[in-house]
């Protein structure tokens, strides 16, 4: 891993090719496209993309835990669904639909549930294995699904239909371009927040944890607590997505909590490529669009075709779609600010620039 150009100031005989960072380009391109999409699409397609954006938020939360903290969470849908049900209940029983209450409420719900589950699974005397956490979250998701299905107050199998529109004062957020931009803005905000986080010192610790957990622990970082923090943060994000989803779709139902959705999210993120944040977004968009197109054209066989496609991608590109565009080095990431000049970098002993 030693970079010859930083090894010593005098060693400059091999000019290093300047690598263009691909990820920011991808991010900006996507940003530009998404920003103008409602202007060119039919309403029903805009609504479809809004839903995709909300799911992208959910996939982002998974990328945070798996791609950056090494926690295989099959339970993101648990936080998503719980938040969705909570705000649905707020709307149905208490008549609260104000955006200023429901969105924070969904965020907090996601945070609390993930804090509870995360503490149980991650903290304790023995650090848990990846598989244990994976199964623990899977169980949480599954148990919540079964419970919701059996609980009449939550609507049982049917869920809670006919959720009124989200309001801000007397203004109603209806589906369409308005909601699209709301979802888009939320996604953008959360994305920037996560991006900042993972490129900070905190993110450096996370990257270290992902690559070599034991070593980071020996350095004195409290690995389990770091994981719990990231897990809770991701849970909050998933909760936020759940609140947006509930009001957008107008109904919540037990599948929002369940294992199928959880696994779908994992698949989305892995398909796009973990560890890059934007990969998760791309993965969701790609799969949803392909699924949409397939369902239109192959009405009977589309689940099979989708499964085969996923299989092929996993087989031949385990790093996901983003691996097609981005080098491994860039995927691992950069942290902190790049040094001014190479010599000063060598003098400071820093490393890790693209």
């Amino acid at each position: 891993m030693a970079d010859p150009s930083t090894a010593s100031p005098g060693y400059r005989s091999v000019p290093r090719p300047r690598r263009i960072p691909v990820i920011p380009i991808v991010e900006l391109a996507l940003l530009a496209v998404l920003a103008v999409l409602p202007l060119v699409l039919d309403d029903y397609l805009t609504i479809f993309v809004t839903r995709v954006l909300i799911l992208a938020l959910l996939a982002l939360s998974f990328d945070l835990v798996w791609g950056y903290a090494g926690i295989m969470s099959f339970g993101q849908a648990l936080f998503f669904g719980t938040a969705g049900f909570s705000v649905a209940l707020l709307a149905r029983d208490l008549g609260i639909t104000s955006i200023f209450i429901v969105l924070p409420a969904s965020l907090v719900t996601g945070l609390l549930v993930s804090l509870a589950l995360g503490s149980f699974l991650l903290l304790g005397r023995h650090p848990p294995t990846t598989i244990f956490v994976a199964l623990g979250t899977l169980t949480g998701s599954y148990a919540a699904d079964r419970l919701a299905r059996g609980w009449y107050y939550l609507g049982g199998q049917n869920g809670i239909p006919s959720i009124p529109a989200m309001t801000a004062g007397s203004y109603q957020f209806v589906e369409g371009p308005v909601y699209y931009y709301l979802a888009f803005a939320t996604l953008l905000l959360v994305y920037l927040l996560c991006r900042f986080l993972v490129r900070s010192q905190f993110g450096l610790a996370l990257a270290g944890m992902r690559e070599q957990e034991a070593r980071i622990a020996f350095f004195g970082y409290r690995v389990q607590q770091l994981k719990a923090i990231v897990f809770s943060l991701a849970g909050a994000i998933a909760g936020l997505a759940g609140g947006l989803y509930a009001f957008h779709e107008g109904f919540v139902w037990p599948n929002m909590l369940g294992v199928v959705l959880s696994t779908q999210i994992v698949l989305y993120a892995l398909f796009g490529g973990v560890g890059t944040l934007i990969g998760a977004v791309i993965g969701v968009i790609a799969i949803e669009i392909v699924g949409f197109w397939l369902a239109d054209n192959y009405q009977q066989e589309w689940p099979i075709i989708l499964g085969l496609l996923l299989l092929l991608v996993i087989l031949f590109r385990p790093t996901g779609l983003i691996g097609v565009l981005v080098s491994e080095r860039e995927r691992v990431g950069t942290f902190g600010r790049p040094p001014r000049t190479l010599s000063r970098a060598a003098a400071k002993g820093q490393h890790g620039t693209a």
Binding site: L135, T139, A143, V266
Partner: protein, 285 residues
């Protein structure tokens, strides 16, 4: 008294079924660290093969003999084509198997036409022993499961093949250095696990009727059973499967069925939290 005995037998037979399903999953997980998300679909394939043979006019038990072989063959092919690439990355393996399971499940759904179809039991009726009613087929399943387990144990503990399998399980590098082809062992193990799943599917299809979602039900219970029992041993998944099966069948007698459902999982996870090795911690055989 009779009720209690009847209940006990019912619970036991359900436990046996779960054990049979879980055995293959557990062995593969212990050996290769891969949780095969398509395991439920191997069960489905076993059931479907039995149904196909039966609808071709042959007796049901013929289908039950054929099913493990067919599923083993499928398992072998899948292992060579797909699973093999993921030994280094078990997480990607889980997802690849999930995608595989999806494909298999939807294909079967298309083939059956989305309905539920039934396959008759090879042994109809019940034995009445001292007032206790023992359905013949369930009894057969318990006996067959016991035989399979004993057979597997003997295979692992007493044969040279079993010795090689255990070596590959404990210390792959040393095994390879000793001239054991771990690749071949892995392929054999996966095939064996698939065969067990196929057998399980074939045996239970008369009881539970065939539908495309047959496997999904068993999958999560299977994972939990493996976790509960402990990864890394042969007895672990057996114990875990037995416990999960018994709890699932017994709890509804005591609490409301809906609650019992959730309780099984919560108890299992809580147990594993406080005893991470599972029921039977991996120890050197």
């Amino acid at each position: 008294m009779e009720t209690a005995l009847n209940a006990t037998f019912e619970v036991l037979s359900f436990g046996a079924i779960i054990v049979l399903v879980v055995l293959g999953l557990g062995i593969v997980a212990s050996m290769m660290g891969i949780f095969n998300f398509a395991h439920g679909e191997f069960v489905l394939l076993g059931a479907y093969t039995t149904y196909l043979v039966y609808s071709a006019g042959l007796p049901v038990w013929a289908g039950m003999l054929v099913a493990p072989v067919v599923v083993a063959a499928c398992g072998f092919v899948l292992e060579r084509l797909v699973i093999r690439r993921f030994y280094a990355t078990p997480i990607a393996a889980m997802l690849a198997t999930y995608a595989l399971g999806l494909v298999i499940r939807e294909s079967v759904r298309g083939l059956i036409g989305g309905l539920y179809v039934s396959v008759p039991e090879p042994l109809v009726g019940s034995l009445i022993i001292g007032g206790v009613r023992l359905p013949k087929w369930r009894l057969a399943i318990v006996i067959i499961t016991a035989l399979v387990m004993v057979g597997s144990y003997l295979l692992l503990a007493r044969t040279s093949f079993g010795l090689r399998v255990r070596a590959a399980l404990e210390n792959p590098s040393l095994a390879r250095a000793s001239g054991i082809s771990t690749n071949a062992i892995y392929a054999a193990t996966f095939t064996f696990g698939a065969a067990l799943a196929g057998l399980a599917g074939a045996l239970v299809v008369p009881l539970f009727s065939l539908s495309a979602d047959l496997g999904v039900r068993f999958l999560i219970q299977g994972f939990l059973a493996v976790m509960l029992g402990g990864v890394g041993t042969f007895e672990g998944p057996v114990a875990g499967g037995a416990l999960i099966g018994v709890m699932s069948a017994a709890l509804p007698w005591a609490v409301a069925p809906v609650l019992a459902d959730v309780l099984v999982f919560v108890i299992a996870i809580a147990f594993v939290k406080f005893r991470p090795g599972g029921l039977i911690a991996a120890r050197r055989l």
